[in-house]
């Protein structure tokens, strides 16, 4: 009996040690509103992962229309019909990345890309990059793990399907309820299905977009939910419709930084500047082909 008391005492000690105060979150220094992004970055250059370089993380493969172009020789990314190379500067996010870098004071060859799995972009501990850019949606819960920049893209979710799918012609969420839908893991697309459609058959959650598309082709899925621009890229035959905002707020993509990284403020300056002078819209028009006439599910 007594040895168990001893063990219990030790456990309690450990638990007490664990229950320490949370270290207060520091806010990054507020950049003065008059500062340019480049000045800000120069000021905070000690926070860069690699000196004089903007290291950006994204997934591999990187899908069109977010990343396009041909593979550079020696690049980890292999381009194809549906995939591109971040180094190319083609595709919305790739183009946006280089524009952002320039605004923050980096030249083209001062941008380095690293391939990370989605999980790595928010895993605890120091990061091997400055920021992650991978069509990551901003949410309050996620803010606990990373620091987001301001949104750089407003995103909606859309449903795609192939010829012969029972999803085609649906205009209301109720009509989608009995269908078998799927989406890639870690996306708001999945949330859209679960919260907006609330289907009778569970949504398929796939490690990657192409696995979801495979099941769509097999006929095991009636439709796949993806973000709007991806929907129009031609991964499936038909864009059936778009979804209203999940949770009521406009969903936005943001850049994910390590918590308390002061560079967030600098990136925000850059993004706001690009938004104000219309560059964000230009990029959108150049790289993303969307047909806003597609009906919204009611």
């Amino acid at each position: 009996m007594r040895k168990w008391f001893l063990a219990l005492a030790a456990m309690t000690l450990l638990a007490a040690a664990c229950a320490e105060e949370e270290t207060p979150r520091g806010e990054g220094p507020d950049p003065s509103l008059d500062q340019t992004a480049a000045d800000c970055t120069a000021e905070q250059s000690s926070s860069l992962f690699a000196a004089d370089t903007l290291t950006i993380a994204t997934g591999n493969p990187s899908y069109k229309p977010w990343y396009g172009g041909e593979s550079e020789p020696g690049s980890e990314w292999k381009s194809g019909d549906f995939t591109g190379d971040p180094h190319s500067g083609e595709g919305y996010e790739s183009a946006f990345a280089y524009a952002l870098a320039e605004e923050m004071g980096f030249s083209e060859d001062q941008v380095t890309w690293v391939a990370v799995t989605f999980n790595k972009s928010f895993a605890p501990g120091p990061k091997d990059f400055d920021l992650a850019m991978q069509q990551i949606s901003i949410s309050p819960k996620r803010e606990e793990a990373v620091d987001f920049s301001v949104g750089y893209f407003d995103v909606n979710q859309a449903l795609i399907a192939n010829e012969g799918s029972p999803a085609i012609g649906a205009t209301t969420l109720a009509e989608l309820k009995d269908l078998k839908l799927g989406a890639p893991l870690g996306t708001t697309s999945l949330q859209a299905i679960e919260e907006l459609v609330q289907p009778t058959q569970e949504a398929g959650a796939y490690p990657d977009l192409d696995l979801a598309l495979k099941d769509l082709k097999n006929g095991q899925l009636d439709g796949v939910v993806v973000d709007f621009p991806t929907a129009f890229y031609g991964y499936a035959d038909v864009v059936v419709g778009q979804f209203p905002d999940v949770g009521g707020d406009q969903e936005q993509f943001g850049l994910a930084f390590e918590s308390d990284n002061p560079l967030v403020g600098c990136a925000n300056l850059a993004i706001e500047a690009m938004r104000e002078d219309g560059r964000l819209d230009e990029l959108k028009n150049e790289w993303l082909e969307v047909d806003t006439s597609v009906p919204t599910f009611s």
Partner: protein, 295 residues
């Protein structure tokens, strides 16, 4: 002591029993009774206290704690994951039953003697080689994505079906080898005795060899079963939401790894009773095992 037969040496003293049965394992782990138990407990507690302290006082600990041991996230994730876990239970329960039967068939085919059965032996051997060689995830992917793609009439489409088939195929290969080891460990004199009583080869196998063989290989059988329980999560690759995928979904949505810890807790909670159950089975069988044919 162990409660077995006592053997009296020629000089009249009893010979000490060399083995400690599994039921006494706890005291053996703690190093015997009395004072040494105290030292064992104390040193264990101190060791873990030190390790715990080192972890907790490291600079990255608050971040890791938030990311892996977030109480609020745990409270949210645990019931969701547990609800999905019943799917894993279904998958590995059905698969295990099929595996235990199918693997026995393969093991028996593999051990059929005589030239007329050579093709069967070869097929059984090829089967075990193939399915122990190919990674389980590949088999699941090929069956789960490939079979429906063939669009053959009559072939089921369901992820659940193909995942169970895939797991059964793979694990039967491993378990067949476990059975085979058990069967071959039965002394040939047992078979001779059975045959001499006029039992056919099949009857000898069924009544004498296999019952003994299976009892002998219960620990490795449980090992493989535990592996199967973990591998039931591979159905996630097909997009089918079981416990692990549910954990992944929450994790990706909230950028927090605590759901994985919740799942780990569930797995450990079911594994421990199984291990103790098998220990009990072994202790019970140990008395049977020291049988007559040991000369």
């Amino acid at each position: 002591m162990s409660g077995g037969r006592e053997i009296i040496l020629p000089n009249g003293t009893p010979r000490p029993d060399p083995g400690v049965p599994a039921g006494d394992r706890r005291s053996r782990v703690l190093g015997g009774g009395g004072r040494s138990t105290w030292i064992a407990v104390l040193s264990t507690v101190i060791f873990f206290a030190i390790v715990g302290f080192l972890i907790v006082s490291s600079s990255g600990w608050p971040e890791v704690r938030r990311s892996f041991f977030d109480a609020e996230e745990f409270a949210y994730a645990f019931p969701e994951i547990l609800a999905k876990f019943w799917r894993n239970v279904f998958i590995f329960s059905v698969a295990e039953i099929l595996v235990l039967l199918f693997a026995l068939l393969i093991a028996v085919l593999r051990s059929l003697p005589g030239p007329v059965f050579t093709p069967l032996r070869i097929m059984a051997a090829a089967y075990t080689d193939l399915f122990r060689g190919v990674p389980t995830i590949l088999v699941i992917a090929m069956l789960g994505y490939g079979m429906p793609a063939l669009q053959l009439r009559g072939l089921p489409d369901s992820d659940l079906f193909w995942a169970i088939v895939a797991l059964t195929l793979v694990y039967s290969a491993y378990v067949a080898e476990v059975y085979r080891a058990g069967i071959e460990s039965i002394h040939p004199s047992q078979i001779a005795a059975a045959r001499s009583l006029g039992l056919s080869r099949g009857q000898a196998l069924r009544h004498v060899v296999i019952p003994q063989a299976v009892r002998r290989v219960i620990p490795p059988l449980l090992n493989d079963f535990i592996g199967l329980q973990k591998d039931s999560a591979l159905i996630a690759f097909l997009g089918y939401t079981e416990a692990l995928l549910r954990a992944q979904i929450i994790q990706a949505q909230d950028f927090n790894f605590t759901p994985y810890v919740a799942l780990a807790v569930i797995y450990v909670a079911i594994t421990i009773p199984q291990a103790r159950f098998v220990d009990w089975l072994i202790a019970k069988e140990r008395r049977r095992r020291e049988g007559s044919a040991q000369l």
